[in-house]
C-alpha cells in the first residue's frame, strides 16, 4: 500500500482505515452506531482533526463520519480520478499585440486541491484559454511561471527576479506584461517594480482576484481581460495595478503602483488610489480610458534599450542623461528595513532590538501629522547615531506629514527622522529598501527618498483624492442608489 492511499488521515482515523483495509478513493459501505453510510472515501484536509473520515455520497455532497461510531467498513478500490483543467491551444491572431503573463502564484484560474481543501492555480496559456476563452479576442498570449508563492510570501528576492524578467522582456520587444499576483501584497510588489523598472517602454500590469476562479462570481476572468487589454492596447507604460472599480462587473481601475492600497479584506473593489485619482479606467468595450492627463506613454517605435544599474553613480548618471528611449533596470534592495507602527504606550526596546540587529532603515508610521510620543525620543536619537535612516509616514493613510506644526514633529526631525511627505507607509518602506540597495550615504538616500519616481510623493492633493463617504446621510444614500456599487 502506498502512503497516498491514506492521504491526510492521522491517528485514530488512519488506524480505522487500516483496520478495515479501506483507502482514499475507495467506494465504501460504512456501518456506524448512527446508521449506514455509503460513498467514496475522500482525502482529508491536513489541518483538520483526526476523528473523522470524509465520504462523498452519491448526491455529490461530502460528509464526515466519526470514527468512534464506525462498526464496520466494507470497501473496494476504484481508479483515482484525475483532475485537470481542459487545455486548448491558445489561438494566434496576426496583428494582435503580444502580451506575456508572468505567474507568481496568484489564482487566476484554479482547481481544487484535496490535500489542503484549497485551490490550485491553472496557468499555461492553454489552461487559461480553456477557462477564459475571451482572452484570445484581446491579444496573443505567452505565459511563464516565475515562481509559485502565496502573496504574503513575496519578498525582495522575488521583486528582483520579476524586475529582471521585465527588463529581459522589454528588451525582446514585448507589447505588454501582465503579472498575476495574490492581492495581499500586490501593492508592495507594484511599488517595488516601479522603483526597479523605470521609464518603461510598455505597460506592466499587476492583477489578482478577490474571489478565486473556482467560483462563478469570480472577478478573476474580468480582471484578467482588463489587464490584458491594458497591457496589450493601453498607452500607459507604467507599473499599474488593475483591479475592479466598483464591486459590480463593470470596469476596472488602473492604479499607480506607488499610490495604491488594498483597503478591504474581502471586497472585489478593494484597491484604491490614495490621495489621488486612479490613472485610468479599463473596460472591454472602450479599452483604457485615462483619467489623468499626464502619464508615461508607450514607446511604439525605436530600439528597446535597457540599462542595468546596480550602484548610485550609474543611477545618477542615467538620470542626468535622461535618455527617453532607455529603460532603467535598478534591481537593488537592502532588506534590513522595518516599518514601525506607533501605538500609545510603545516602548523604546522595540527600536533597541532593531538597532542591535543591525537594521539600516525604519519607516515610522506615526499618528496624525507624523508623531510618536516623547518616550521614544532618546531611542530615535540613538538609532540615527547608529546610522539608521528613519522616515515618517502617517497612520491616517490619507494626507501629508507636517512635522513643523507641533513641537513633537520638530523634536523628531531634530533627532534624525525625515518626513516622507504623503508617501504611503508601504511605499516608503519599499523605497527605503530599494534606495539602501544603492547607497547608505545619508544625504543621497534622502535625495532618492524624496525625489518621486512615479507619484509616490505628489506635489498636491486634488479635492477628489480623498473620498471616504459615510453611509446613512441622505446625499450619500442617494448617490449609492443611483450608481452600481
Amino acid at each position: 500500500m502506498s502512503e497516498e492511499n491514506f492521504q491526510g488521515y492521522k491517528k485514530e482515523a488512519l488506524e480505522t482505515l487500516k483496520k478495515y483495509n479501506a483507502h482514499v478513493w475507495d467506494n465504501a459501505e460504512i456501518d456506524t452506531t448512527r446508521g449506514h453510510f455509503s460513498g467514496k472515501i475522500l482525502p482529508r484536509a491536513e489541518n483538520t482533526d483526526s476523528k473523522h473520515i470524509v465520504v462523498k455520497v452519491i448526491t455529490g455532497y461530502n460528509i464526515g463520519i466519526d470514527v468512534d461510531t464506525i462498526t464496520d467498513i466494507k470497501s473496494h478500490a476504484v481508479p483515482q480520478p484525475k483532475f485537470q483543467i481542459p487545455e486548448k491551444e491558445f489561438p494566434y491572431t496576426k496583428g494582435f499585440p503580444h502580451v506575456k503573463l508572468l505567474g507568481t502564484g496568484g489564482t487566476i484560474a484554479s482547481r481544487l486541491d484535496y490535500r489542503t481543501g484549497a485551490v490550485i492555480p491553472a496557468f499555461s496559456p492553454g489552461e487559461l484559454y480553456g477557462a477564459v476563452p475571451e482572452l484570445a479576442d484581446i491579444c496573443n498570449l505567452d505565459t511563464e511561471k516565475i515562481f509559485a508563492v502565496f502573496s504574503e510570501n513575496m519578498s525582495p528576492k522575488e521583486y528582483i527576479a520579476l524586475a529582471n524578467k521585465i527588463g529581459e522582456e522589454a528588451k525582446n520587444g514585448i507589447d505588454g506584461i501582465v503579472i498575476g499576483h495574490g492581492t495581499d501584497t500586490l501593492a508592495h510588489t507594484a511599488t517595488a517594480l516601479t522603483y526597479m523598472c523605470q521609464n518603461l517602454p510598455m505597460p506592466v500590469i499587476l492583477v489578482g482576484s478577490q474571489r478565486s476562479s473556482d467560483r462563478p462570481s469570480s472577478d478573476a476572468a474580468l480582471n484578467l481581460m482588463h489587464a490584458m487589454t491594458a497591457a496589450g492596447h493601453g498607452d500607459i507604460a507604467e507599473v499599474l495595478v488593475c483591479m475592479f472599480g466598483p464591486t459590480s462587473d463593470e470596469y476596472g481601475f488602473l492604479h499607480r503602483g506607488t499610490r495604491v492600497r488594498k483597503m478591504h479584506s474581502s471586497y472585489r473593489s478593494t484597491f484604491r488610489t490614495i490621495g489621488d485619482t486612479p490613472v485610468a479606467t479599463v473596460n472591454r468595450k472602450d479599452g483604457v480610458c485615462p483619467i489623468k492627463e499626464e502619464y508615461n506613454h508607450r514607446r511604439k517605435h525605436g530600439e528597446r534599450k535597457v540599462e542595468l544599474i546596480t550602484n548610485l553613480e550609474d543611477y545618477k548618471a542615467s538620470i542626468a542623461r535622461n535618455d527617453h528611449n532607455t529603460m532603467r533596470l535598478v534591481p537593488t534592495f537592502d532588506d534590513r528595513v522595518a516599518i514601525l507602527y506607533y501605538y500609545p504606550g510603545m516602548k523604546p526596546d522595540v527600536v533597541e532590538s532593531l538597532i542591535e540587529r543591525g537594521y539600516k532603515g525604519i519607516v515610522w508610521n506615526g499618528t496624525g501629522l507624523g508623531h510618536v510620543n516623547k518616550g521614544m525620543f532618546d531611542v530615535i536619537q540613538k538609532a540615527t547615531e547608529a546610522g539608521i535612516h528613519q522616515y515618517m509616514s502617517v497612520q491616517t493613510i490619507w494626507g501629508y506629514t507636517h512635522m513643523f506644526v507641533y513641537d513633537t514633529g520638530r523634536d523628531l526631525m531634530a533627532r534624525g527622522i525625515i518626513p516622507a511627505s504623503n508617501m504611503l507607509a508601504e511605499s516608503a518602506y519599499i523605497k527605503l529598501g530599494w534606495a539602501l540597495g544603492l547607497t547608505h550615504d545619508r544625504e543621497e538616500v534622502k535625495k532618492l527618498m524624496l525625489t518621486p519616481i512615479n507619484s509616490e510623493i505628489t506635489p498636491r492633493e486634488p479635492y477628489n483624492g480623498y473620498l471616504v463617504y459615510q453611509g446613512g446621510t441622505p446625499e450619500v444614500e442617494e448617490f449609492i442608489k443611483k450608481v452600481h456599487k
Binding site: R34, H36, F37, I65, D66, V67, G117, S266, H484
Partner: protein, 706 residues
C-alpha cells in the same frame, strides 16, 4: 356569394376530406397485410398528391389526434392502470425555511422582506461557468453562460450585507439553524452524519450572487410512513435560500436579496411514488413532519417543493419551486404524459430519418418581401430585429404534436428561445401553430424560399442580430434532442398544471467543497440531547387523533398549523375531551382564521381561555363566542370579553326551571312537527342564557326529559 364560398370554404372542406382520405388508406393498408408493399406505394403517391394540392397539416386536428394516440387521459379520468402503463415514477425535494432569527452564514435578520422597488443600492454581475473538482464544466453552466445574462441585485440595507453579495467570506454557521435542522433530521429518522461538510452547489442563473449555494448534508437514509407504504428518504440538507426574482426580460434579470441566505432545509425522497396522489400524500407528510417540530417558518414562500417525474423510457425531469402542494398532482400527471408524448415523437422521427445525417436549414427573411400583420413581428421589424426562417426536415406533424394540454411540441422551442437566447415571448411562429398568427400564404412563400419538402416543418423567429446565432443553435439543438426523446432539464410550474422550460438539469459536477469553512463535528452527546426534543411521529399523532374520534377532515388544518401539541396539552392538562378540542381547533378556529385572515392571533391564548373557563367554573359552551371576540378585540382580557358578550351567571337549575313554561308555549308551525323541532325551538330560546352556564348537550337532554 358563390365565389366567396368556394374561396373560403373549399380549402377547409378539402383539408378535412384529405384527413379522412388518409386515415382511410391507413386502415386499408393495415387490413390487407399481404398487399402492404403495393399499398405503401399507392399510399405514398396519394399522400404526395394530397400534400401537393393542399400541402398543409391541420394543426388543431393533428394536436387532438396525437393526444389521443398517446393515450392521454385527464387526471380526473386517470386510473392506476394508466400510470402503470406509462410508468409514472416520482420523487420529491421538499424545502422549508427554518424559523431562525438570523440568516445562515451572516448576521442579517431572517424573515424581513423588501418590496420589489424598495432598495438602497444595486449591483451588477455576470456568472461564469467554473470547473468542477473533477475538472469538468457542468452542462447547465455552459448553457447559462451562453445566455450572457446581466444580473442586477437590489439590496435593502436592512436585509442584506456584504456576505450576501459575495464580498465577504461566510461567518460560522448559525448554530440555531443547525440545531433546528438537526431536530427535523432526527424526526425524519435519518442517520446523522458525524461531521458536517459545507458544500458549494453551483447556480449560474444568478439567483445567488456567489454563483453557488452553501449547503450541507445532516442526515441520510430515513423513511416516512404513508397510508399504504413506506417511502424512503435519501437525505436532508441545510442550505441558504436564494434571491427572489423581480424581473427577467431579455438579457437582464433583476433580483432582490431579502430572502437570500435564509436557512432552509431540503428533504429528498427516493423516486418511489407511483401516482400523483401518493406524491401529494408524501409531500404533505414531510411538510407536516417539518411543522411538527415547531422549528420551521410557514406562510407564502416558506415552503417550496421540487417534483421529479419520469415515465418509462423518459428521464428525471425536475419541476422547480412548486409553491402549493395542491398543484403537485396535476403537474406530475401532465409532466409524465409530456414525456410519454416526447417518446412518441422520438419514435416517429427515427422512423422517418436518421438523426446523424439530419440538419436544419435557416435563411434570413427580408421583411419587405412579406406582408406581416402579426403585431409582435411588426414591432420586431420596427425595432430593427432580424427575421429568420428555419426548415426542420421530416418534422411535419411534429410541431403541433400534443405534449401538454394547450401546449404542442413547438412550445419546447419557444421556451428554450426565451431562456437560452433571451428572446421574449412570443418569439416565434410555426407553420403548425394552433392559433394561426402567421398566414399560410406567408409560410407557402417561406417553404419555397427554404426549398422545403412535403414532410418538413418551419419555424419563423425574430431576434436582435446579436442573439440570432444562439437562437439558431437552440432550435437545431432542441430539434436534434427530439430524436433522443426527453431532454434533461428543469421546468417551471404554471398554475394550469403545465410546465415550461427553465434550465438544463445540472449534474453532480456542480458540487464543490466549500474552502471557506471548516467541517463541523457533531458530538454524540449533542445529538442525544437534541433527540430528547423530538416530537412524536406525525403518523402516531394521526393514529391518536383517530382514537380520540376527532373527525379526519380537520387533520389537514391541524397538521398544517401544528396544533396537535396544543390540543393535546389542553386535553390532558385541563382534563378536557380531546374530540371537543380537536373540533374546536379544526372547525371553529379554522372558520375564524378564514374570517379574520390578516389579524395576527396567538393560538396559545386558546389554552388560557379554557384554563380561565375552568378556573371560573364557566361552561365551555361559551368558548366559541369568546374566541370570536378574541379575534375582534385582541386587547381585551377574558373578563372584558365576557362583558362584551353580556354574560350573566345563572344557576343551571334556573335555566332548567324555564323549560316547562316554554314547552307549554310551544306552538308548532307545521303540521308534522316532531319532538326534535320542539327541543330545537326551546334550545333556541334558552341558548343565550345557557352559554357558559350549562352544557348544551345537557340542556338538550333536560328538555327531552320534560
Amino acid at each position: 356569394m358563390l365565389i366567396k364560398f368556394i374561396f373560403l370554404y373549399f380549402p377547409i372542406i378539402f383539408c378535412r376530406f384529405s384527413y379522412f382520405f388518409r386515415s382511410y388508406i391507413k386502415e386499408f393498408c393495415t387490413f390487407g397485410s399481404q398487399k402492404v408493399e403495393n399499398l405503401q406505394l399507392i399510399k405514398s403517391l396519394i399522400n404526395k398528391l394530397i400534400i401537393n394540392i393542399v400541402n398543409k397539416i391541420n394543426p388543431q386536428e393533428n394536436y387532438e389526434s396525437s393526444q389521443k394516440a398517446i393515450g392521454y387521459v385527464s387526471r380526473k379520468e386517470a386510473r392506476q392502470s394508466d400510470y402503470d402503463r406509462i410508468g409514472f415514477t416520482s420523487g420529491l425535494e421538499v424545502h422549508q425555511q427554518l424559523k431562525t432569527d438570523h440568516k445562515l452564514f451572516c448576521r442579517c435578520s431572517a424573515g424581513v422582506f423588501q418590496k420589489p422597488e424598495q432598495y438602497d443600492a444595486e449591483l451588477f454581475r455576470h456568472m461564469r461557468p467554473t470547473l468542477s473538482e473533477m475538472g469538468e464544466y457542468d452542462g447547465t453552466a455552459l448553457m447559462e453562460f451562453k445566455t450572457k445574462k446581466n444580473i442586477i441585485y437590489r439590496i435593502d440595507n436592512k436585509t442584506a450585507c456584504t456576505y450576501d453579495v459575495d464580498d465577504t467570506p461566510p461567518f460560522p454557521i448559525n448554530p440555531q439553524a443547525l440545531q433546528y435542522a438537526l431536530e427535523v433530521a432526527l424526526a425524519s429518522k435519518l442517520n446523522i452524519v458525524g461531521e458536517v461538510h459545507i458544500t458549494r452547489k453551483q447556480y449560474l442563473d444568478g439567483s445567488i450572487p456567489a454563483g453557488f449555494q452553501r449547503t450541507a448534508i445532516l442526515g441520510i437514509e430515513g423513511e416516512i410512513p404513508l397510508k399504504n407504504k413506506k417511502v424512503r428518504l435519501i437525505q436532508l440538507s441545510i442550505e441558504e435560500d436564494a434571491c427572489r426574482e423581480v424581473s427577467d426580460i431579455g438579457h437582464t434579470r433583476v433580483y432582490r436579496t431579502d430572502r437570500l441566505g435564509m436557512p432552509l432545509i431540503e428533504t429528498v425522497t427516493y423516486p418511489e411514488m407511483v401516482n400523483p396522489d401518493e406524491l401529494k400524500e408524501a409531500c404533505d407528510y414531510i411538510r407536516f413532519l417539518n411543522r411538527s417540530t415547531g422549528r420551521v417558518r410557514t406562510g407564502i414562500g416558506a415552503g417550496r417543493e421540487d417534483v421529479n417525474v419520469s415515465c418509462t423510457g423518459g428521464t428525471r425531469i425536475e419541476i422547480k419551486g412548486v409553491a402549493h402542494t395542491k398543484w403537485i398532482p396535476e403537474l406530475s400527471h401532465v409532466e409524465c404524459f409530456r414525456q410519454w408524448a416526447l417518446l412518441a415523437i422520438k419514435d416517429q422521427l427515427n422512423k422517418r430519418t436518421d438523426k446523424n445525417t439530419w440538419a436544419c436549414k435557416a435563411i434570413e427573411l427580408n421583411p419587405k418581401d412579406f406582408n406581416f400583420y402579426y403585431t409582435p413581428i411588426v414591432e420586431a421589424i420596427k425595432r430593427g430585429e432580424k427575421l429568420y426562417a428555419v426548415n426542420l426536415p421530416h418534422f411535419a406533424g411534429m410541431l403541433s404534436h400534443f405534449t401538454q394540454p394547450g401546449r404542442p411540441f413547438y412550445d419546447e422551442f419557444a421556451g428554450r428561445l426565451k431562456v437560452i437566447a433571451c428572446l421574449e415571448k412570443p418569439n416565434m411562429a410555426t407553420n403548425e401553430d394552433l392559433d394561426d398568427v402567421v398566414s399560410s400564404h406567408i409560410f407557402d412563400k417561406i417553404q419555397q424560399l427554404l426549398n422545403a419538402g412535403e414532410n418538413d416543418a418551419q419555424i419563423l423567429f425574430w431576434a436582435p442580430e446579436a442573439d440570432v446565432p444562439t437562437a439558431l443553435e437552440v432550435i437545431e439543438e432542441r430539434a436534434k434532442m427530439a430524436f433522443d426523446g426527453v431532454p434533461k432539464e428543469t421546468r417551471k410550474s404554471m398554475p394550469d398544471g403545465t410546465t415550461i422550460f427553465e434550465r438544463v438539469l445540472p449534474g453532480a459536477d456542480r458540487m464543490y467543497p466549500d474552502t471557506d469553512s471548516a467541517p463541523i463535528p457533531l458530538e454524540n452527546d449533542y445529538i442525544e440531547q437534541l433527540r430528547k426534543n423530538i416530537p412524536e411521529a406525525v403518523a402516531d399523532r394521526y393514529k391518536q387523533m383517530v382514537e380520540w374520534h376527532i373527525p379526519t377532515d380537520t387533520y389537514n388544518y391541524i397538521f398544517t398549523h401544528n396544533y396537535y401539541p396544543l390540543i393535546k396539552k389542553i386535553a390532558t392538562e385541563l382534563d378536557m375531551c380531546p374530540k371537543y378540542i380537536g373540533v374546536f381547533f379544526g372547525q371553529k378556529l379554522k372558520y375564524l382564521h378564514g374570517q379574520y385572515k390578516n389579524i395576527p392571533f396567538d393560538v396559545n391564548r386558546i389554552y388560557d381561555l379554557f384554563a380561565y373557563l375552568k378556573a371560573q367554573n364557566i361552561d365551555k359552551s361559551i368558548a366559541y363566542n369568546m374566541l370570536k371576540v378574541m379575534f375582534e378585540h385582541p386587547e381585551k382580557d377574558f373578563e372584558g370579553i365576557l362583558k362584551t358578550l353580556d354574560f350573566k351567571r345563572i344557576n343551571k337549575e334556573e335555566v332548567v326551571k324555564q323549560i316547562p313554561s316554554l314547552q307549554q308555549a310551544f306552538s308548532p308551525a307545521r303540521k308534522d312537527t316532531t319532538n326534535t323541532d320542539k327541543i330545537n325551538s326551546i334550545m333556541g330560546r334558552l341558548r343565550n342564557i345557557s352559554l357558559g352556564n350549562i352544557c348544551l348537550n345537557e340542556l338538550s337532554q333536560e328538555i327531552s326529559k320534560h
